[in-house]
């Protein structure tokens, strides 16, 4: 199914929750609302025309203090239909960003979401075990945020060399 058709199908089922389609991206992307979208993700996985059974990756992006938003990008792939889909979510509250977890829909999301929490500070509502994964537990700040200031010292070691 082409992305246009997927977009139409989602639009007919979820209405306002599905916002726009972007044709410049590779694979083409669909932007959806950040609120209560778990049903939509479950639909993407379970619908027998879509069947996006593989979540390849989740990327978090900080757009910086001027734009004042964060983004989550889900790269989905359907093994039986050999189709790709990029799903985007915009998080308006940059200071304490929060998004619903998809770790019970695709279990692989568990670690991807932990990584995003670790590096960007986005919290995932309903995540079973949200703690740092790459950085040490007592690290301060989230380094991929554009306005993150490195701590001066970590255990007595100068951080900024």
């Amino acid at each position: 199914m082409t992305t246009d058709l997927i977009f139409k199908l989602l639009k007919s089922c979820f209405g306002q929750k599905v916002m726009e389609i972007n044709l410049n991206d590779q694979p083409r992307s669909i932007e959806i609302t950040s609120q209560e979208n778990r049903e939509l993700f479950t639909f993407l996985r379970d619908n027998n025309q879509l069947y996006f059974d593989m979540l390849s990756s989740i990327t978090g992006i900080d757009n910086g203090p001027e734009v004042n938003t964060m983004e989550l990008i889900y790269n989905l792939y359907s093994i039986p239909f050999d189709s790709h889909l990029m799903v985007k979510i915009k998080l308006e509250d940059r200071e304490s960003p929060i998004a619903p977890t998809v770790s019970d829909i695709w279990k692989t999301a568990n670690w991807h979401e932990r990584e995003i929490f670790d590096l960007l500070g986005i919290r995932f509502e309903g995540h079973p075990d949200l703690r740092r994964i790459l950085l040490p537990s007592d690290w301060e700040g989230h380094p991929l945020r554009k306005d993150d200031v490195l701590q001066k010292r970590y255990h007595g070691i100068k951080v900024d060399y």
Partner: protein, 403 residues
């Protein structure tokens, strides 16, 4: 002394704490740590294991000891300068990672169709050589993990030939920076094709020896068959890819599925796990799939060599750097590119703004990272010695897990 570590007894506790609370332990249970410095964890991986006697109740992997801030570095570097960092992610198969990365940037620039065939064939040739080297380390160290020492020495001996061939192409043994965006660092050295063909002929019987020495060895089968079974549905839900997914019985290889580069022109099979010695998706299947893939890679190498010595013959006029762009400035947009690494699907997500040759965001989706995340699921209720066998069969490279 500006960089002196100051000792405090709580530092270790705070930075790398134990996740399981001591009060939640039942009678007879205990926590112990494997790693981060332990030969069977294949790098700096720490496993927090809750056991009852010899039985593993729970495994919690702790990673991040080799985190080198790839994504943060990539925010401040032009596309072409990121390649050496990509090498250092999966240092066992740097050529494959480079190939994926270069392909992604070329796709963004829209120059994929212009890349000369000779360049593409050389890329596939070196990537497949590197794939064999990576699988050799995987199988060799796996044998080492469960007590077979000789296969490791044999495989390291043969891997050395590959490393020397690759060293000949670009000067480096492990971290090559050979595949450039739009081309290659250099053309193949003179007579490389002959030496490579000799090597291919040399290696074929060695793979048969390996099969008798390790794969069909009774002790090896006893240790690995029916151990760490990964059902297909679970594997897909956990995003597991590469030989691990294929061992679970799905014929899914991105070289075929996506058909990138010149792979559609090449003839090779995709081995899958059949459960010949036990259950589909056990540790034995995973190792056997890797071993069969080495033979398939040799097939690809032979076909590449035929092409590179006949219709795409070496030419004085040919310069593999002809198409290397001076300025790499892709159109604004988001891109996801993926390719088959020896360990699975390596993906890169790029966001570009169309105004600079530095990516706004470059995220790497490491296959080892995702493959490791399934470990707690498949190692519940096994013996500790089996846990070691399972960790070995995942074929982790911690450089890519932590990035």
């Amino acid at each position: 002394m500006d960089t002196q570590y100051t000792y405090h007894p709580d530092h270790l506790k705070n930075s790398e704490s134990i996740h399981t609370s001591l009060t939640s332990l039942k009678r007879g249970e205990m926590i112990f740590n494997i790693g981060p410095q332990h030969p069977s964890t294949h790098g700096v991986l720490r496993l927090e294991v809750v056991t009852d006697g010899e039985i593993v109740k729970k495994v919690i992997p702790h990673i991040g000891y080799l985190h080198r801030c790839f994504e943060k570095h990539a925010e401040s570097m032009p596309f072409n300068q990121i390649i050496p960092y990509v090498d250092r992610m999966d240092y066992m198969s740097a050529m494959n990672s480079e190939h994926t990365y270069a392909m992604g940037v070329e796709r963004m620039l829209g120059i994929t169709d212009q890349i000369p065939k000779r360049v593409e064939y050389i890329r596939v040739l070196v990537a497949e050589l590197n794939r064999i080297a990576s699988h050799f380390v995987a199988i060799g160290t796996y044998g080492l993990d469960i007590g077979a020492f000789t296969p490791f020495l044999w495989l390291m001996r043969d891997r050395e030939h590959i490393l020397r061939l690759l060293e000949w192409t670009c000067g480096a043994r492990m971290l090559y920076n050979y595949v450039w965006i739009g081309g290659l660092y250099y053309d193949l050295p003179l007579q490389f094709e002959d030496r490579c063909a000799e090597f291919s002929a040399y290696l074929k019987p060695k793979l048969e020896h390996l099969e008798t020495l390790l794969i069909t060895n009774k002790i090896f089968i006893e240790r690995t068959a029916k151990v760490g079974v990964l059902p297909l549905e679970l594997a897909i839900n956990y995003g597991v890819t590469g030989p691990m997914l294929r061992a679970s019985g799905l014929k899914y290889d991105l070289r075929r599925v996506d058909g990138y580069s010149v792979y559609p022109e090449l003839d090779f099979d995709i081995p899958i796990g059949t459960g010949a010695q036990g259950t589909v998706g056990d540790c034995w299947d995973r190792t056997y799939v890797r071993m069969q893939e080495c033979s398939e890679s040799l097939k690809i190498i032979d076909q590449c060599l035929v092409k590179l010595t006949n219709e795409l013959k070496r030419d004085k006029e040919f310069n593999p750097r002809d198409l290397v762009p001076k300025k790499i400035r892709p159109k604004a947009g988001d891109y996801y590119v993926r390719a088959e690494n020896p360990k699975g699907e390596l993906g890169f997500f790029f966001r570009t703004d169309g105004r600079s040759d530095i990516p706004v965001r470059c995220k790497a989706r490491g296959c080892s990272f995702v493959n490791l995340s399934v470990l707690p699921e498949i190692s519940k209720g096994v013996m500790i010695s089996d846990l070691i066998a399972i960790v070995g069969s995942l074929d982790l490279v911690l450089g890519e897990v932590d990035r």
